[in-house]
Structure formats: C-alpha cells, structure tokens
Amino acid sequence: MGRATLRRLSEEGAKVLGLDLNESDLGESCAGYPDAESRAVDVRDDAAVHAMLEFECDSLVNAAGILRRHRLLEHPLDDWQTTIDVNMKAMFRLSREFARQRVEAEKTGVIVNVASVESFTAAADHVAYTVSKSGVAMLTKAFALELAEYGIRVVAIAPGVTETGMNIALRNDPDRADRLRAPIPMHRFAQPEEQAGVIAFLASDDASYVTGAVLPVDGGWLTA
C-alpha cells in the first residue's frame, strides 16, 4: 500500500519521501519516479523521525504495518510487542513529531493512517494485529480532535483484504484464498492502487472537511 501510495501521490504532482526498512524494495517503489526520495529506516527508530522532519512534509501517510499470526493461547510476547511497536508506537511517534513541527510553524497539514477492517471486527489468530488496528482508529480520532483547531486533519482508511506482501502465502493457497474471498460482497481482494486512490483523496483539498474519519475501503466487508 505504501508503494502504491508513493507512486499515486507522485503522479498527482507531490514531492514524496518514502521510508521503509528494505532498501531494495524502496528502490523498486521509486523506479520510474525520479523526483521521489527514499530513506531505508526502521519506522520505530529516531532516524525515521529525523528523515521526516528534514523533509518538512505537509502530509504524512502512516502505511507501515506488520501482521504476525499466532494461536491466541500460544502467542509469544515478543511478537505482541513488535506488532504494537511497529503498527502503533511508530505511528504515534511520527504523528507526534509531525504535529509538533506543523503547530510550531503555524502551518496546516494532513495525516493519513492505515487502519483496517479489524479496527471494527476480528479475525482468527490475529490478536496483536486487531489490537493494534483498533488502537490506530482511536489514535486517529484523538489526534484529529486535538489538531483540528490548528488546521491539521487526521484521517484513516480501513482496508479490507488487499493484495500485498502481508498475505502472499494465504493468496497462493487456492482453498484459503477462496474461503477468504467468499464473504466479501465484491468477491475479490483490493489492489493496492485502490487503497492509494482513497489515501490520495483524503490527503487532498477535496477532503478539506474530513477529519477523524476512519473510512472503510473493503469491498463491502463491513456491511455484513
């Protein structure tokens, strides 16, 4: 989703800085987009914050996330902690520093967070992910409430199942893929570009009255 967003926003004329753990994946993302910049960093680290602050962005898209599946009763604490740290704490730290930079400079801005349908529902063996995405939804609303008076909008998308690296193994198993696809009203998974399109809208002036919203992009998943 982050890759698709970097490309879509570049195509819309934005100057984009992409952050990711993996340098070669970043290179692929930026291929064909000569104006896009990139830095290989762990979003949990101060290096990510510094890279963002140096770039002086007016929009921050928090798309980095991980999913570690475990049977609940055997769920190890380290994967719980890592999921909280990557999916929530990193987002909190980047959002905090972005907000501080914009508020101190008396400038407006936008934060778009990637939440999930699991901000509202559950899925088997996903406890840390579900917990983190439910936290992201409230992080979005709380930051939105506080920052509205400073002209900073904070919104989220709640993607349904999207074809990314997070679920390659599952999608390559025809039985599991069919079972996952079946309850989706649109009977298909999303393409990352479909999430990027909504992120681009939410980051744009067309969404100037949208803040605190957590918008499902889920092929109808939450309707039933």
Binding site: M88, K89, E118, D125, V131, L139, A142
Partner: protein, 241 residues
C-alpha cells in the same frame, strides 16, 4: 440484580483498591461471588471471608501467574477475570512522551492481554468455561477534548480490539470476553467541575462505581451466557451527543 447472580463464582479484579474497581469488587461480593482484589497497594482487610486482596504490580513479569495462583490458593478456583486497572497521563498530542506511551501501554493493554491469556490457558487446560471483562472507556470509540489524552484513548481503543479478538479466538472454548465502557464516573480520582459536567450528560448526573459494578455483575453472570465480543456503554447517554 439478585444477590445470587454470581453465587459460587470466584472473581479476580485488578485495580480493586479504589474507584470503579472497588465498586465492581463490592457489587460482585454482594452478588454472592468470592473476590480476589489485585492492586499495587494492598487495601485494609475486608470483614468478608469471601474477599481477599493481594499486592501485585500487573506490569511485572510473572504477575499474571501470581494473580491466578492467588485465586486458586485462596478460593480453590478462578471463574472471572476483570481487567480494570489503568493509568492515565494527559498531555497535548505533540507532547506525550515515549515513557508515557510505554507506561500506559504496559498497564492498560499488555497487562490485560497477559492476564487474559494466562487465565484462558488455565481454563482451556482444565476444560472449564470462564469470563473475561475488560473495563474500557468512552474513549474506546470517541475522543476526549480536555484534558487531552490521545495515548490513553489509543490504549482504550486497542483494549476494545483485544476484547473482540479474544472473544473470537476463545469462543470455541466457551470462554466469553466482554467489555464495559464507563461514562463520567464520580470517584475520588476524578474532580470534575460538577455542574458543568452534569449538564453535559443526558441523565444530568455523574455515574457511580456501583453503576459500573451492577453492569459487571450482569455481564459476568450466566444471565449473559450468549453475550461475547461486545461492549456495553454505561454512560447516562453521554455517547449519544
């Protein structure tokens, strides 16, 4: 509520020494349960043989096992876990520190997860049913204006997610996981501008710890046998605004 809704049940409540936790413990006791209170500070001994308290910091390693062991040692069993203990440190969202984040996550989210996992494992290994009640907040779904508390809200949103995820994964074992979202409750920890606050609540009064305690008794009793993965807001209509 009858005085026997929780007869024979052993209930473990964290943060039981004051406020909402004390109200929950009191109501469970009145409903016939035996209650083990877990808090960082030990409270004066109760005159009921069905009440015991231990002093444990739930964020320390081994705390979950210690709480379960104390319930079994004292009362022979554990049927209900109520994750009530929480901390709140408020600051502007651009000023909340990493240390505040770590502290609130540890107490409000990770400790409830570890306690719930420990109790659930015990129930599954012994083929017993059980109930977990997470005390969430209005801020599990709506943000709070003043004082600003974005990190606290994040932990309460996440705790609601924990309720749903654990309810889903534990349903096959007959373990229910539910939540209460208290509204503005009068305790010695909160000092609201009473008149202004009461005007903001459709019921025009603050809630009491007993309001939450009575809801807890229902949700933890067999009366609620078909309720799981759900949050009950007890807020005098606050969320309607």
């Amino acid at each position: 509520m009858t005085d026997s809704q929780l007869d024979g049940k052993v209930v473990v409540v964290t943060g039981a020494s004051r406020g909402i936790g004390a109200g929950i413990a009191r109501c469970c006791l009145d409903a016939g349960a035996s209650v083990l209170g877990v808090s960082r500070t030990r409270i004066p001994r109760s005159d009921s043989e069905r009440r015991a308290d231990i002093s444990v910091d739930i964020t320390t390693q081994g705390a979950a096992e210690a709480a379960l062991a104390a319930a079994i040692d004292t009362f022979g069993r554990a049927d209900v876990l109520i994750n009530n203990a929480a901390v709140l440190v408020s600051a502007n969202c651009w000023e909340q520190t990493d240390a505040q984040w770590d502290s609130m996550i540890a107490t409000n989210l990770t400790a409830p997860f570890l306690l719930a996992q420990t109790f659930a494992r015990h129930w599954v290994e012994n083929e017993r049913p059980g109930t977990i009640l997470n005390i969430c907040s209005l801020e599990s779904e709506i943000a709070w204006k003043w004082p600003p508390q974005s990190v606290y809200a994040t932990t309460k949103g996440a705790l609601l997610g924990l309720t749903r995820a654990m309810a889903f994964d534990l349903a096959e074992f007959r373990i229910r996981v539910v939540a209460i979202g208290p509204g503005i409750i009068e305790t010695d920890m909160t000092t609201p501008d009473r008149d202004a606050t009461e005007r903001s609540i459709p019921f025009r009064r603050l809630g009491s710890p007993a309001d939450i305690g009575r809801a807890a008794v229902y949700l933890c009793s067999d009366e609620a046998a078909y309720v799981t993965g759900e949050i009950l807001y007890v807020d005098g209509g606050y969320k309607l605004r």
